[in-house]
Symmetry: C2
Amino acid sequence: MKGERIVELLETDYPIIQAGMAGGVTTPELVAAVSEAGGFGTIGAGYMEAEAMKDSIREVKKHTEKPFGVNLFVPGHPSSSLEEEEKAMRALHPFREELGMEAAVNPDIPYVFGEQIEGILAEKVPVVSFTFGIPPEEVIRSLKQSGIKVMGTATTVEEAVLNEEAGMDAIVAQGAEAGGHRGTFHVSFEKGMIGLMSLIPQITDHVSIPVIAAGGIMDKRGIAAAVALGAEGVQLGTAFVTSKESGAKRVHKGAILEATEADTVVTDVFSGKPARGIENRFIREMDGRTILEYPLQNTLTKPIRKEAGRLQKTEFMSLWSGQSPRLSEDSAAADIIRKLSEYWKESL
Amino acid sequence: MKGERIVELLETDYPIIQAGMAGGVTTPELVAAVSEAGGFGTIGAGYMEAEAMKDSIREVKKHTEKPFGVNLFVPGHPSSSLEEEEKAMRALHPFREELGMEAAVNPDIPYVFGEQIEGILAEKVPVVSFTFGIPPEEVIRSLKQSGIKVMGTATTVEEAVLNEEAGMDAIVAQGAEAGGHRGTFHVSFEKGMIGLMSLIPQITDHVSIPVIAAGGIMDKRGIAAAVALGAEGVQLGTAFVTSKESGAKRVHKGAILEATEADTVVTDVFSGKPARGIENRFIREMDGRTILEYPLQNTLTKPIRKEAGRLQKTEFMSLWSGQSPRLSEDSAAADIIRKLSEYWKESL
């Protein structure tokens, strides 16, 4: 069977991974439903405090005994002057006003990575995947020593090679089609905007660990294409945002279900890092204004997005989506896995 | 056989099309070699005067009796003020100076489309493909009445539907990975930057004429993936730029052979329309300066690129390339077709 190495690594029925999307999409119900159905669920813990992450892990374990993963964001070293902060806050003020919110306070940088790793070790999570870079050597070593599998994210051949050299067990190759945050960490994000048709064969020619394709894959056509290109597994995000178990806001799901392939853009206005989502007023009006580095900008816009979500005001929300929204469906996660696994069943 | 409709339409052995790249790459030798080997060669006549195009067509016919195509650029309605022209010329002056060239003269718009169509009809070219839009109804009608097959280019679902409605026999779906000019004509070019993984299934869900995948495809892995996504044929450009019969400058071929997937950018500085090529000094230094509309900018930069090519100064040339340059090879066109056709032979 093609995909055997990923099936063995993740101990699943099919090498189909539900992406660890941060921001509340990956409810324990979603993660457990995916793993129960024979796929591989992932908690998107990027922004989570360690305690919340551990609660989420325990909740998943209550619903399934099958393996699942946790995705973490590798922290950088952002900085901002008070002047920049004031400018960025002024840029956001009109949106707060329109939502009837009070003035913002200066953002703090949440350093949660160390505690997240401790939590992962304590909870013996089967697999951890990383986005935004490669964690320090000692982190990878301690995870592997505890029998935890590690996966990295790459958007170029060089990033894939760096992941392999760092000891990763597998690589998620994120194509330009992907929704949400760009995982690019070694070149400018523009240089890392490589379509999967180009990315997968060039990466698999240069690494020996298995490569998982991510970006725009929504059904068995995408899975078959990814395998033809040399991928041994697939990771899907948008396909699960619209699922019944997803924690995405109803209006976010609706926006994806109604969107076309030409409706998304890559923008850094929400978090300070480039990410693909459905274009809206917030993206257009923030264009060219002061944006703080990640995660400072994320901290600043979070209350705005939260309030906009409460008011179902999609124009101010981050409506993450990949480039295949026309293929999205409002189904139960188990049904999605069932349809996606048709390719693997047919190819056996 | 998958791809049957394209094989029937183009009367070839395999549904493998050599893209009609403008600017001298598609020599009659290349076009004829591709068609002779069982693929489908295309003359990139976008910028050609009708007489030069007809000479090229006759030359191809001398080398092969098999069918081939001609690609044309659908003209727009550009305009520029004298003031803009002066600004654009000033922006280019440092490059002319560095190359030891004299000052430029104001650009004319070459209107060759009508005469090109007359030439196509006179020479009874089997297939014509169009880039940058859909030609007027009467043009399509007269071509079809003469038994000439017509193909359009689409970068979004809507563009594909417009092509089908206009009576095209097939559509080239150009992914964001593709080298050279973006064919986008109905949305902003940014909105038309859809990776093939997303583009093909969404287009094939919405049209009934056959779809040909273009962008980043270089070997049988790409062909298999394109077919898995729903394409019935493939079109390759970059793979043939480096071929022995290609008219590309030696240094252009060398630049592609040495490039990585992260070396290309999409820029309008050469022609006034966005196109993907290997980043160089010209692209970087022209960023943010006055660029005239296509084809005025093309007319202005053409002598600079020509002189740079003569001096083998790649930093001032348009080094068109898709996102898979690591997969490029310096082979004879017939050998490329032979390797590419392996997929079709295996799938029979």
